[in-house]
Symmetry: C2
Subunit: 94 residues, 2 copies
């Protein structure tokens, strides 16, 4: 649960709710640095919340998606987004 | 939102969902040290999530309760509790 409190985690999970995405897609959707994004994705992978799928294409394609455990966070992520709209200046919605 | 990820925060909020309580009541309900509990309550107060009410009685009585902003976190707290029951060994329920 500590991971949920880390900066960008909820926004990355919120982003992945709309389906599997490549690193560059997530990076362009969020004002987060590439270094921090890859750090968070690695942590999310270690926690079993995100799956990293490598496609043996040329060039190679890597996609990130929510696991079942990650998807089960949806009500919490949506709840945080709604709560933030009312109580926090920074809006989660893209 | 970083505060939600800090150790014990969700459990303290979960505890206060059942209404105003004194420090000793919260402390006896959770396996948290007094020092850390008072630190978290102070942070929660600063974030406007918890209200600290002092009653001019002898001896003096201090009660902690959720503010409107704190109570608005209920769906998220309940969601984390349900998610944890399925996906995390440590159970939130008292």
């Amino acid at each position: 649960m500590q991971l949920l409190g880390k900066r960008w985690t909820v926004l990355i999970l919120y982003q992945l709710l709309s389906g599997p995405q490549r690193f560059s897609e997530i990076e362009s959707a969020l004002p987060v640095s590439g270094r921090l994004l890859s750090e968070r994705l690695k942590e999310l992978e270690e926690e079993g919340l995100v799956n990293r799928q490598i496609y043996a294409e040329v060039p190679i394609r890597v996609e990130y998606s929510l696991t079942e455990k990650g998807n089960a966070l949806e009500p919490i992520i949506r709840g945080i987004q709604k709560w933030s709209e009312v109580w926090v200046e920074v809006n989660l919605a893209p």
